[in-house]
Structure formats: C-alpha cells, structure tokens
C-alpha cells in the first residue's frame, strides 16, 4: 500500500567501517535491512525503523547510527509532525492508533519539581556504609493501636508481607512480555526479597516455586485463575485500572496466544484474550467489597488483598471507598504508567500524574483516620531512586516499577511493544526473538538495579540523618517544591524551597 508517511528515522551506515557481517539484518525484527546479493550492499528500508537501537548496539564495528529523520514538514507549532503523521495513518486505515510504554507527552513531571532535605550541623547525617540502615517494608493492614501484654507485643492480626526494599516489579503479564522476561522478574524478586506481579495473564506452573515473591492479579478477563493460582502466591491483587489506559480493558491479539500462553491463560490457542473494561461483577464500592472478601475467603484470610486503580480525578474518594471495602493494599498507577498496548489517545490524555494522585490519596486517608487500614503502593513514572524516595516521603509505602525493570532487560523505549516484534526479545512471543533475553543475565541485571537503587535510597536517608525508611514515610517536611504554583504545593502538601 502506498503510504504518504515520512520515515521517522534515518540509518547512517559508515561504509568504511561496515564489514558486511549482516548482524544488523539478523537482529532487526522490523525488516529494515536486506542484503542485495547482486551488488553486495545492504539496503535500508528506513520507513520500518523504530529506533530501538538493537542493530547499532550489536554492530561489531559501530558502523551504524540511527538518527531522527531530518526531513521536516513546514514548521508549525500547532500541527506537529506527530499530529500530521498520526492523522495520515488513520486516514489510511480507519483504525485506532495503538502504542506501547508510558505516556511520552511533556505533562509536568512533579518529581523534577521536588527537592529533598539534608542534615547540616543540628542533626548529624549518617553514613550507610558504616551504620545500619533499614529499608524493610511491610505491606498490609496495620492495627489501629499496638497491644502489649506482659511486656510483649501482641501479634498483628492482619496478614501482611515483608519486602527487603520498597521497590516491587509492576504487573506485566506473560503474553504481554516473553516467558524469559517474566521468569527473570520472578527470579530477581525472589532472590532480592521483594515481589513481582504476574499481571492478569496467568502464572505458569513451573514458576510457582517463586510464590513467596509473587503477587497474582485478578482482572476483568479472569485468565488462568483457579484456587491454586491464588493460594500459591503471597498477595492477590484486583486490577481495576491501569495508568496507561484508565477505564478500558485489554486485547491480547490471537496471534500472540501461543500454546503455552493458551495453557497459562486457559483459553484456546489463537483466540483473542479480551479483558472487558470493567469487572462485570463490580459496578460499585459494595460490589468491590464483595470481590475482595471472595478472594479472602478463597485464600482463607492468609494473605492481603490489593486493589489497583489508575490515577484519575477523583482517586482520593475512590481510594477511601476501596480501603473501607476491605483492601489491605491499594495501588494507584499514574498517567505515565507503561503498557504493552493501549490506544494512544487514552495513554496520552487520560488520568493524572502519580505525584499529585499519591499526595491527594494519602492526605484523604489520613484525614479520614484510615491510612493504617491499607498500605499505599504507587506506580507510573518512577525513573530512579530519587523518585522512589520522594514517593515515600509523599506518603507511599512502596512503589512498583515496570519500565525501569524492562530497561534493565534491554528495553530502549521504542514504544513498539504492541507490534509483538520487540527486537530486544521482551514484548514478543516469537521464539527467534525471545531467546535474546537470557533469564540468568536478566535476573542479575534486575537484582543489580534493585541493589543500586536501594543503596542510593540509603544514602538519601543518611544525608537526611534518618536511618529507617519508615521515618520518611509520609514525612513531607523532607520535601520542598520548586517552580510550583500554590495550588500544586497545596495538593502535594509541601512547602516551597526556601520556605
């Protein structure tokens, strides 16, 4: 079909360096490269290039450079190239535009407008290399008061889980990501003492041994769910919404439903895996309460039940309802949260930044005196340990990371997850590509990431003269805003820098 789109990227091949080894051709899953045998040259189809950089990284002589395409339409502040290209695609197909990963629009990033405090003179800072530093985090409902009997602390009557660091791997289903990626997340979480989330695509039997590090999801599609699925895990999470696509469900296209995925999800091979937009047994907070308690019954009250929503305008009121409905953990996923596939128009326009939602939810639960009834986990746009620290100081108990974990496995955020062609072998089910993630190396990269971030969090604690993450939780005095208006400072519940 004739397309009127310009290639987004240009491939520069330094012919002096190129040794015609054709690695680029084998590595590119988007069919950019072919070899012209008659003339013995590589041919580029640049319109297919997604700038995933797989070829450039693997080229043994660094002969390849992928650049933004310099061709431009007449500059126009209103009609940017993205708008024009998107519109043309739709005129050609009549379809909804899909995309992958989190929102890439320059909505204000509040993490970049928040600064952290440090101790000087009046309160000595602490060196985490020499002094104990506590990152252990407990998720689940906490009692209203501690009970002592004969000088001994009484056991807490609510089920909870323990994390060695307040960072977990967010929900990414087997189906959206490859088996090797999924297994790497499971193993890394298990080895490091934190959690990974299965997403809603079931949980392969051979990974059940990592149950101590597993959060399973019960989403509207109810894929791969049975009593073993819940009871082999440590936390059950009801997925209501996802930051990248609030209020809609998901479609795993039939061609991604391989034999093993069909077995894991318990649906026929090749059939679309459709998750309805709502849970059709949840149309109200009362209905949510019913499902939360059904899951508690199904697990004999042994494990906390989590409920995940996307950050929307009235998230605080909904969160209050969720907590009152019996959720032991609530998860709020912001507008920058990632996805394997979502309509672009939703990803970029629906929802609010997690920083504001987090502060508003925490404030609301505190004001209502029910903050201890549930732990608060946030996700969607956490990029580094500084963001984690700020999230916790704003009131979160822990965070989920998705995109950073995939980057540790090789992802370069080319946003083509929905095509199923991921050249890094992450968001694909093509056996030729999935081999590119080695679970041994993947596990090590992920535990490295957790170790590095955890140590940085200790440094941030130490510089503030604090030796336990618990003392930072909801401690908004540790934060100051910069370049924010008064309403933003009010929502975040922090003062401006210098105040």
């Amino acid at each position: 079909m004739l397309t009127s789109l310009l290639p987004e990227f240009t491939v520069d091949r330094n012919e002096d360096r190129c040794i015609q080894c054709r690695v680029c051709e084998r590595q590119c899953s988007f069919d950019v490269y072919t070899h012209d045998d008659d003339h013995d040259v590589m041919i580029h189809r640049e319109e297919n290039c997604v700038a995933c950089q797989r070829c450039a990284v693997l080229c043994p002589t660094n002969a390849l450079t992928i650049r933004n395409n310099d061709y431009t339409y007449k500059p126009n502040a209103n009609w940017t190239r993205e708008h024009i290209q998107d519109l043309k695609k739709q005129a050609e197909t009549g379809g909804v535009l899909l995309t992958g990963m989190g929102c890439d629009k320059p909505h204000k990033n509040y993490w970049d407008h928040i600064l952290i405090n440090a101790s000087q003179v009046t309160n000595p800072s602490i060196d985490p290399l020499r002094e104990p530093m506590e990152l252990r985090t407990f998720l689940g409902r906490k009692p209203d008061r501690l009970k002592m009997e004969k000088g001994k602390l009484q056991k807490i009557e609510y089920p909870g889980v323990e994390l060695t660091t307040p960072i977990m791997f967010g929900a990414m289903s087997y189906g959206a990501i490859s088996y090797n990626s999924f297994a790497s997340l499971a193993r890394a979480a298990y080895e490091y003492g934190t959690f990974f989330n299965t997403g809603e695509g079931g949980w392969p039997k051979e990974l059940r041994k990592y149950g101590k590090a597993t959060i399973v999801q019960c989403a509207s599609g109810r894929f791969g769910i049975d009593l073993d699925y819940f009871n082999d895990a440590s936390v059950v999470e009801i997925k209501i919404g996802q930051g990248a696509k609030p209020g809609i469900g998901g479609h795993l296209p039939g061609e991604k439903v391989s034999e093993h995925i069909s077995q894991t999800r318990m649906i026929p091979q090749g059939s679309d895996a459709i998750s309805p937009a709502p849970h059709h047994d949840i149309y109200s907070i009362e209905d949510l309460q019913m499902l939360i308690h059904a899951l508690k019954e199904a697990t004999d009250y042994r494990m906390p039940v989590s409920v995940k929503i996307s950050a929307v305008h009235n998230a605080p009121a909904i969160a209050s309802g969720m907590v009152r409905a019996g959720a032991d953990i609530i998860v709020v996923d912001g507008i920058r949260g990632g996805t394997g596939a979502a309509p672009k128009i939703l990803r970029d326009n629906v929802g609010i930044p997690i920083e504001l939602a987090l502060a508003a939810v925490d404030t609301r639960l505190r004001n209502e005196g029910i903050r201890n009834w549930a732990s608060l986990v946030v996700s969607g746009g956490i990029r580094n340990s500084g963001d984690v620290f700020k999230a916790i100081a704003l009131g979160a108990d822990a965070v989920y990371i998705g995109t950073p974990a995939l980057m540790a496995l090789g992802c370069t955020v080319c946003q083509k997850c929905y095509t199923g062609k991921c050249a890094w072998g992450i968001t694909t089910q093509d056996p030729y590509l999935t081999k590119r993630v080695n679970p041994e190396i993947g596990t090590r990269s992920l535990t490295n990431l957790l170790r590095a971030w955890s140590h940085e969090i200790m440094e941030l604690l130490g510089c503030g003269g604090i030796n336990a993450i618990e003392s930072v939780r909801g401690n908004r005095l540790q934060l100051r805003g910069i370049g924010l208006e008064q309403w933003e400072l009010d929502v975040l519940g922090i003062r401006g820098a210098g105040q």
Binding site: K89, Q90, E92, T93, G94, G95, V96, L97, L98, C218, S220, G221, R222, F223, I225, D226, L227, D228, F230, N231, H251, P253, G254, S262, Q263, M266, I267, P268, G270, S271, D272, I274, P276, H280, D281, M290, L291, H293, A294, L295, E297, A298, T299, D300, Y301
Partner: protein
C-alpha cells in the same frame, strides 16, 4: 501416623454416608464457611445447611481440602451473593433462590438451584456445571471461557435478561425458556452475546437480529450439538425431578445457536 488403605477407605465410606447438619440462623458468613472448611478437613463430605439467609461465598473456602470434588452441600434458604465463587470441585444444591454472582469464576464442580438466580451468574466461569430451574437475571455467563476439554456449562430452565453471554470466550449455555411450553415466551432481552468471541448459547425460541450483539451469528445447532443439548436437558430433568420422556418432546426446530462470528472480533479495529 500412617493409615492403612483399608482403614482409610472405611473412614471415607462412613464420612460419605454421614450428613452433617448445620443451622445457619444468625451465622456470620466467615464463621459458617470456616466451620464447613474445618469439618471438611476432618473428612466430612455431605452437608445440609438450614436457615441460610444471605450468607455469602458458600463453597469458596475449600482450597487444599482433599477430594473436595466429593463434597456436597445442600442449602435450604437463600444464600448470599458470590455463592460458589472460585469454587473448585464441590457440589452445591440450593432449595430456594440464589442472589448475584453465583458461580463467579468457578473452576470445577456443580451448582444446582431449585429456583431462580440473580445477576452475573457464572461470570468468567472456567469449568463445571450450573443448573438453574427457573429464571436468571442480567449479565449472565459474561466472559465464560474454555480450554481443551474443560468446557463450563450453564442450563437455564426459564428466561434470561439483557447482556447475556457478553464477551463470551468459550463454554456453553442452554436456555430452555420456560421448558415444555410449546410457544416459548421469549422475553425481549437485548445485547445478547455482545463482544462474543467463543463458546455457544443455545436458546429455545426465536431470537431477532436486533436482540443480539454485532459479533454474534445465528445458526441451527449441529447434530452433535443437538445431542449435547438433549444430554443436558435429560440431566436437567433428572435433577429437578421431571419425567425424562419429556425430553423427547423438545422440538429441535425451536432451538437456535448463537455463536461468535470471529475468534478475533476486534482484529481490524486498530491502525498500525
């Protein structure tokens, strides 16, 4: 301590025969279900629960109980919502009506209701059988699914309401639509099978095109399917004490099969 196979068999036989009677008057559902669980763990297999009045989640909390497919619970009264939610094996027989979300995401086992059922019956059901003597409410059989020979089945003796079999991905539902009435009074329900991409709904009585979702096709049951229908109607008769010969009176031409036009209803919805 090891138990000899003979002794175990004897103990099992005794447990299978003994009916445990429980009175649910004023009982909190959590306590009632835990009591059933504890008794089942001790080996009890037959239960009769009287005066059930709104207690939820009957049959849910039996994970890890050995041979739980042998457990049968007779329920007198009106159980609460989510009866048999996530249930994996047991049989529940209710002498009365049931509320919403019965058989929610049920995996295996059987639910029999000598009355009518509320909304969202069998949501996400993955296996097992549900027999409803009377009518069912809205949103029944949403997103039922199947895998290989694990095919969930719902048989409804009476009528259905809107959004029946929405998003259905597998399994079979048979709606007898006032059994043995020669001119079945199909209540006008709408949006039947919207978003359907698998499974079959067999309805007795005429269904007009404006009542079904865009993704649904109407056809006649095949010979094989007709045999299945007869088999399930015979089961229905046995369970509810109707004469089996009545099955022979069923007129095949009154039945229609509603099924998905495509396994991929939204395959062409997206640009590239």
């Amino acid at each position: 301590m090891s138990v000899s196979p003979a002794a175990k068999k004897k103990k099992d036989q005794a447990a299978n025969k003994k009916i445990i009677k429980l009175d649910a008057t004023g009982a909190y559902y959590k306590d009632l279900n835990r009591k059933i669980r504890a008794l089942a763990q001790e080996g009890a297999r037959k239960f009769e629960i009287n005066n059930v009045y709104g207690q939820r989640y009957l049959g849910t909390n039996l994970w890890g109980v050995e041979d739980r497919e042998k457990i049968s619970i007779r329920v007198y009264g009106t159980p609460g919502s989510d009866m048999g939610a996530f249930m994996d094996g047991p049989t529940l027989e209710v002498f009365g009506n049931v509320q919403d979300a019965t058989g929610n995401t049920m995996n295996c086992g059987r639910i029999i209701v000598h009355g009518s059922a509320g909304d969202v019956l069998g949501y996400g059901m993955r296996g097992g059988e549900i027999f409803i003597r009377g009518n069912v409410g809205y949103r029944v059989g949403i997103h039922m699914k199947e895998y290989k020979d694990k095919i969930p089945t719902i048989v409804v003796g009476g009528t259905m309401q809107d959004f029946f079999g929405e998003y259905m991905a597998g399994g079979r539902i048979i709606v007898l639509n006032k059994f043995f009435d020669d001119n079945p009074p199909l209540r006008l329900s709408y949006f039947i099978g919207t978003g359907m991409h698998g499974g079959s709904i067999f309805v007795r009585g005429d269904v007009e095109a404006h009542q079904i979702g865009a993704e649904v096709g109407i056809s006649e049951p095949t010979d094989k399917e007709w045999k299945e229908i007869e088999k399930y109607v015979a089961k229905y008769c046995t369970i509810f004490g109707l004469e089996k010969k009545q099955v022979k009176l069923l007129k095949r031409e009154k039945f229609w099969r509603l099924s998905a036009k495509s396994k991929r209803p939204y395959g062409t919805m997206y640009a590239y």
